[in-house]
């Protein structure tokens, strides 16, 4: 039942009932109509409505309420429009409305006969029909029985095959309701022994005991989920973001045009492909263009970008991935170029120096003979050979 409840929650969310009050409102109104589903192939007696049985067949069919006769004006009866003091009103069909009610009753009767026809024709080998004779005081039971559809059927089609049987069952001994009201022994004890607890819900007590082990806090698993964690609290734009952006721009430099044009074109291209806030980046335009134009004007820059691969992944001895800004290949050597923005206190900053040496070390260990390293300080317009 709990599994099914989860399913209902899931379906309700899909239908747009995504807030607690919306779901509860729906549940209060409709929850009682929910049912527990079974697959078609479960090896068990299948209990279904006659409507659901349409088109199916079974070796044995049992109809527990096989001969119910229809009543007019039920829950599903039609609504008709009628005139009240010149006003059109929609009202439920009731006996008092006369002809329309009886027409509807007749229609429902025909429908009921059809439904019963469906029910009686589903069995291949055996059909059991239960014809409930509720003996109501003061009513002619014989007449009731003759009124039933089963009686009509038996009249027209008397039981003739071997094994056909019409048996009048015995009324079961009425079950005393007392058992329902009695408190089960164990709970009565529990009630006696607990002083503070002045009330008991017998059905629940036992279950609570069974589930007494401490339960983990709800959704305790969630923090252990293995997903990449972005930090929403991080500032949308800072020096690091500016740096990433200028890195991006460098990749887009075109050396067939003037350094100034190349810088502007690369800046605009990167701007239209970035996830960073463009308004903030636009504020950095002047300094970025200066840095890019300087780099584009370097004689070696073109070769670096033509022969280099940006954001190249290298792996260290333990299999960790590292990303170089640019790895430049030429016939005899590999050059690691790392771009830096901002102006450090000294050139190169020890930290940057360590970083590039680490890349160089890995490349040497990977079997490359001639490895160089360059730090390109874009804002400071300075190249530092490592």
């Amino acid at each position: 039942f709990l599994l099914r409840f989860k399913e209902i929650l899931h379906l309700a969310e899909q239908e747009g009932l995504s807030s607690l009050p919306a779901f509860l409102e729906w549940w209060n109104e409709n929850g009682h109509e929910e049912k527990l589903p079974m697959t078609d192939s479960v090896d068990a007696i299948r209990i279904m409505t006659i409507h659901k049985a349409k088109g199916l067949q079974f070796p044995v069919v049992i109809l527990p309420f096989g001969t119910n006769t229809p009543k007019g004006g039920g829950r599903h009866s039609n609504i008709i429009e009628m005139d009240m003091n010149g006003m059109r009103l929609q009202v439920n069909l009731k006996k008092e409305l006369g002809l329309p009610y009886y027409e509807d009753l007749a229609r429902q009767t025909v429908e009921a006969v059809n439904v019963i026809y469906v029910a009686w024709t589903r069995a291949v080998e055996e059909l059991y029909i239960f014809d409930p004779l509720t003996v109501k005081p003061g009513r002619n039971t014989e007449k009731q029985r003759n009124d039933s559809l089963l009686a009509m059927l038996l009249e027209n089609f008397p039981l003739s095959h071997d094994g056909d049987e019409h048996r009048v069952g015995e009324a079961p001994t009425p079950v005393c309701n007392d058992s329902e009201m009695q408190i089960p022994e164990s709970n009565a004890d529990a009630a006696l022994h607990s002083e503070n607890d002045c009330g008991q819900r017998p059905g629940f007590v036992e279950q609570n005991n069974a589930l007494a082990k401490p339960s983990p806090s709800p959704m305790a698993w969630l923090p252990h989920l293995k997903i990449f964690r972005n930090n929403p609290a991080a500032p949308v734009f800072d020096a690091a973001a500016r740096g990433t952006f200028i890195h991006q721009c460098v990749q887009y430099l075109n050396f067939d045009i003037s350094p100034q044009d190349a810088a502007r074109r690369a800046f605009n291209h990167a701007l239209s492909h970035t996830d960073l806030p463009r308004a903030k980046l636009a504020g950095e335009e002047e300094s970025a263009l200066r840095a890019l134009a300087w780099f584009a004007s370097l004689p070696q820059a073109r070769q670096w970008l033509k022969n280099g691969i940006a954001e190249q992944v290298i792996i260290d001895e333990t299999g960790n991935n590292l990303r170089c800004d640019l790895l430049v290949y030429s016939d005899s050597q590999i050059t690691v170029v790392d771009f830096k923005t901002g102006i450090p206190a000294e050139f190169p900053s020890p930290e940057h120096d360590r970083q590039v040496r680490r890349y160089m070390d890995i490349l040497l260990k990977a079997g490359n003979k001639n490895v160089n390293g360059v730090l390109a300080y874009l804002d400071a317009q300075k190249l530092v050979q490592i």
């Binding site: 399913e7 995504s18 919306a22 279950q207 929403p232 001895e317 299999g319």
Partner: protein, 1012 residues
């Protein structure tokens, strides 16, 4: 350059490892560029490469197609254009449509579609934008489509009728605004590639020294086709396909899902060779098991039992639809998991919070009709929906905040249906004040508990709520421009992040939702042309924009680290393979998926126009599905089946046609139909545990309760509370002894209690005129007076403002009608009636076990007719009176009542049995009270019923009907006192207050506490 044959990697084994070997064998692996359809395979390839070649090294450079395109664009001739976002495109299309149909205002008026309404246009704009992209991508210029209006929405027919002009105008607007769409960029790229191929030039400088591998593509879009052809033909790129190996060896046996690859080879007149696959021998078929469950959660239940916690390496759960993510996470929560898939932001609790803020505004009414700018009033339900939002309730000191919100909710429920923001704030102030006071009282009673912390956190709550109300309610009231909307959303994000603090370390998914809203959705809005124009759009178009942006946003969850069970989307699984693969909910609705009915251009028309249709989508899904299962080792597929609609919300589902095919292939081999529970087809069995039958709940009476009962009964006992005891002792305990009161809720539906009061009031006033007089019948004037009286009192009554319109209308018609019927009935009785008292109070006493009880009550009317004195009580609800046999001394109840003793509790059902026969103690109490009156002696009492069954309506249902005079006298003097004495004895002596479950439960205020 000679074009290379395609490398065919068999889909009966993994793709990534053989591909890693393939690239390592290339002349210069470090200078190889691999282009994948998506970003994910790169991670797996790097990992595999590192495994195959341990030690430090340079990895091949991997690009997703999207990254590769962005890189190539730089080398395309022409001006650099800004990419148009979806919102930009919708806005420009709106302009285009307005200008195209400018001359046809009359027509759009007829369609009831004001062309200048951005809010109404946005949903169409989205579809129109998608269609334009398809046309641009396919390099087709649309002609106007005249389509019968009856088969399409009228507005869709209008748009299609002018589609050619809209297209031209839209392209012009894009150009004027220096914008380009993704399809235009793709088309430009395709043109660049075709030109380069024809002129044998190499426009993409950065590829000059690199070896390009195009890996794992299937169906190509026109730009992909042009680019890859150029790279293959001119740059010597390698094409690697993961597909049916029969493509090289035996094309006749080719699986249909690999046909597209065959067509590709054919189109390019290319050869194919089997790639040097890894040493592992290819399998021909995975170990397949198929499970059918009754619903999604039964599948997840089985899934959870199949996956062993300690063996999650190489295990993936593939979800064909994103909405399966959360149920799956909950179902597998005892196992380590990572997620690699996108989830729609629109389904997140964050979107739900925003939606409730939008609904609040949309359903609001102006505070004052005359001055609409003076603020808004919000419906209480919308307000509750907002207050129930988990994000709001989890901020700051959770317990203090929840207590404060509970206090606010209780006060909102009692208030008028509409409240304004200032009112809400003062309610919040009251609620927090009450809590602070409560705390102070507690501390004064037990000073050792006193501390600053609680009251401090309540004070912080006050600030938190103030901010939250401003950001979720106040801020939205006067929204006019897109920049205002963006800045409000940014502030809201920052507020949630800041006041949530550590919360977001725990709620990881929510953390990503917030990140996405802040870093993607808001920028998507703030970087549009519309944003820059700062136009006054108004609230509703802004809401439509926000909803569109939220709907379109997907939160990309990325596995990190890549350990545990991989929860992965179907599309994200492209090119990957797994040792243990589980595919959930493989229904026809997701594999291949149903056509999303496009009201603008039906699917069959798309095919006619040469645009991609469902047909193409099916091909892609089929290839993804078969590649995935053929290349994985142990494959478990789950689907939902069932005999149709069971619950109210679920649809009938059928298993995917792909599963059908897998089974059919096996059936052909076996030469027989495969029944369920015959391998590989299993049915998931979940044995529903039977729910324990709940006995009626009860409260055990303690000494303290007994003291409370004694204190209560020492005062005047009202007849109605005694009647409550008879009906349900537990309700009596809650309502009378414990003094609990149900929440005073804002009435929204019918209000039977108020209607009852109104009828009583009207009848009292009407009969006052007749007091002391003798009535033999009512003339038309009297009837008219009564009808008018009812109408007048109804208008004055509060319910005329609170009842829903239809209920009020029915009451204003049915009320006078029924009262008239009652007068008619009295007239027809032809008896002389003398009204001797109206709304008369009584007080009487009775001695039980030497203790005197004082009983109080009020009767509606007392009549004298034909020597009989009748106490009347008006009822607008259902009434029941005992059958005549009840009073018979042979009725065993009388003996049971006499024998009942509190000590032995041998007859626990006596009270409920009595209630079932007697129904109510009210009329017996009247007879008892008015039996010893000085002026008159009541001889019978009756309910006057204004509703209920037809034959009972307007009738006076007498308590002692059908009894002769001597019986009546005996009942009044003996049986009724016995009855009252028994009920009082029971009330005093019973050891419990037990519930009487029955039809009264349905409208009992304590129902929830009973578990009913």
């Amino acid at each position: 350059m000679n074009s290379k044959p395609f490398n065919i990697f068999s889909w009966h084994q993994d793709f990534i490892e053989p591909l890693a070997r393939f690239t390592l064998n290339m002349p210069n692996p470090a200078r190889t560029i691999i282009v994948f359809p998506n970003a994910r395979p790169a991670r797996f390839l790097h990992k595999k490469t590192a495994d195959l070649r341990p030690g430090p090294g340079i990895m091949p450079r991997c690009y997703s197609l999207q990254e590769f395109f962005a890189r190539l664009q730089l080398y395309m001739p022409g001006p650099l254009l800004k990419p148009a976002g979806q919102l930009d495109s919708i806005m420009l299309l709106h302009q285009a449509v307005q200008s195209v149909f400018a001359e046809e205002r009359g027509l759009t008026k007829k369609l009831n579609f004001p062309l200048d309404s951005l809010e109404l246009f946005i949903p169409w704009g989205k579809r129109l934008n998608a269609l334009m992209e398809d046309f641009i991508s396919a390099e087709k210029t649309p002609s106007n489509l005249i389509y019968p209006e009856t088969e399409l929405e009228p507005f869709a027919a209008l748009l299609l009728g002018g589609i050619s002009e809209i297209y031209q105008r839209y392209l012009k607007l894009l150009e004027e605004n220096e914008l380009t769409t993704p399809a235009q960029t793709g088309a430009r790229l395709a043109r660049t590639c075709k030109t380069a191929e024809n002129t044998q030039t190499s426009p993409f400088e950065f590829l000059a020294e690199a070896d390009v591998v195009i890996a794992g593509f299937h169906l190509l879009s026109p730009p992909e086709e042009a680019l890859f052809h150029y790279l293959w033909k001119q740059e010597g790129a390698e094409i690697c396909l993961h597909t049916d190996p029969n493509l090289c060896s035996d094309p006749k046996k080719l699986h249909w899902a690999a046909r597209e690859h065959e067509k590709w080879l054919h189109r390019w007149r290319a050869d194919s060779i089997p790639a040097q696959n890894a040493e592992q021998p290819p399998r021909l078929r995975p170990n397949l098991k198929i499970y059918e469950g009754a619903d999604l959660h039964s599948q997840i239940y089985e899934l959870s039992s199949l996956i062993k916690t300690e063996q999650t390496e190489g295990t993936a759960v593939v979800l064909p639809k994103s909405e399966l993510l959360l149920p799956t996470l909950h179902g597998l929560s005892d196992k380590p998991m990572n997620i690699s898939m996108g989830y729609p932001l629109g389904r997140s609790p964050l979107a739900s919070l925003l939606e409730s803020a939008l609904l609040l505004q949309e359903n609001a009414i102006p505070s004052h009709e005359e001055t609409p700018d003076s603020g808004l009033r919000y419906h209480w339900r919308d307000m509750l929906r907002l207050l129930h939002q988990p994000y709001l309730r989890m901020l700051g000191d959770v317990s203090a905040l929840r207590r404060a919100i509970a206090g606010i909710e209780a006060r909102i429920i009692e208030k008028h249906p509409y409240i304004s923001l200032p009112e809400l704030k003062s309610i919040a102030e009251l609620a927090i004040h009450a809590l602070l006071e409560e705390e102070e009282n507690q501390f004064s009673l037990s000073p050792e508990l006193a501390g600053e912390s609680n009251s401090n956190s309540l004070k912080t709550c006050r600030e938190l709520l103030e901010q939250a109300f401003n950001l979720l309610i106040g801020g939205w009231e006067q929204l006019n421009t897109l920049p205002e909307l963006c800045s409000l959303l940014s502030e809201l994000c920052d507020f949630l992040i800041k006041s949530g603090e550590k919360l977001w370390d725990r709620f990881l998914l929510d953390r990503e939702y917030l990140f996405r809203l802040k870093r993607s959705t808001i920028p998507a809005m703030s970087e549009t042309v519309m944003f820059a124009q700062n136009a006054l759009l108004g609230k509703r178009p802004l809401f439509a924009i926000l909803r569109t942006c939220l709907e379109g946003e997907r939160v990309p969850f990325e596995a990190s680290p890549l350990e545990g069970i991989q929860i992965i989307g179907m599309l994200e699984s492209r090119l990957l393979s797994f040792k243990n693969l589980y595919i959930l909910d493989a229904g026809e609705d997701s594999l291949p998926g149903l056509s999303a009915d496009d009201p603008l251009l039906p699917d069959h028309l798309r095919r006619e126009l040469g645009l991609p249709s469902l047909f193409e989508r099916e091909k892609i899904v089929a290839h993804t599905f078969y590649r995935l299962i053929f290349s994985s080792e142990n494959v478990n597929i789950f689907y939902q089946t069932g005999s149709g609609k069971v619950g109210l919300l679920d649809d009938k589902k059928i298993r995917s046609r792909f599963i059908e095919e897998l089974i059919w292939e096996m059936e052909k081999e076996r030469g027989k139909i495969i029944e369920t529970n015959e391998p590989p087809l299993f049915s998931i069995k979940i044995q529903p545990g039977s729910l324990p039958k709940l006995s009626a709940p009860f409260i055990k009476r303690t000494a303290e309760i007994n003291r409370a009962v004694a204190a209560w009964s020492a005062n005047h006992i009202s007849s109605s509370s005694l009647d409550i005891y008879l009906k349900c002792p537990l309700r009596f305990f809650y309502e009378v002894i414990a003094g609990l009161a149900p929440h005073d809720q804002t009435p929204e539906g019918d209000d039977p209690a108020a209607v009852g009061e109104l009828v009583h009031k009207v009848l009292k006033e009407f009969f006052r005129e007749y007091s002391g007089k003798t009535i033999t019948g009512f003339d038309n004037a009297a009837v008219g007076r009564l009808r008018k009286l009812f109408s007048d009192r109804l208008k004055e009554d509060e319910i005329s403002g609170t009842l829903p319109y239809d209920s009020l209308f029915m009451l204003s018609e049915a009320g006078p009608f029924r009262l008239e019927k009652y007068l008619e009935k009295i007239s027809n009785d032809n008896s002389a009636i003398q009204v001797i008292a109206l709304e008369i109070r009584f007080e009487t006493s009775i001695v039980v076990n030497d203790r005197q009880y004082t009983l109080q009550g009020r009767a509606d009317r007392i009549d004298k007719r034909d020597g009989e004195v009748l106490v009347l009580d008006y009822k607008t609800g259902n009434v029941g009176i005992p059958k005549p046999e009840f009073w018979d001394s042979a009725n065993p109840l009388w003996e049971r009542m006499r024998l009942w003793k509190p000590e032995d509790d041998e007859d626990p059902t006596i009270l409920s049995d009595l209630q079932e026969e007697l129904h109510s103690l009210q009329l017996p109490l009247y007879l008892f009270a008015f039996n010893n009156n000085l002026d008159f002696q009541a001889t019978d009492a009756a309910f006057v019923s204004f509703s209920g069954a037809e034959k009972e309506r307007y009738q006076e249902r007498k308590l002692l009907d059908k009894q002769d005079e001597s019986d009546k006298a005996r009942i009044i003097s003996k049986k009724i006192p016995d009855l009252i004495i028994f009920v009082l004895r029971h009330l005093e002596g019973s050891s419990t207050f037990a519930a009487h479950p029955g039809k009264n439960c349905s409208h009992c205020a304590w129902r929830a506490m009973c578990g009913q």
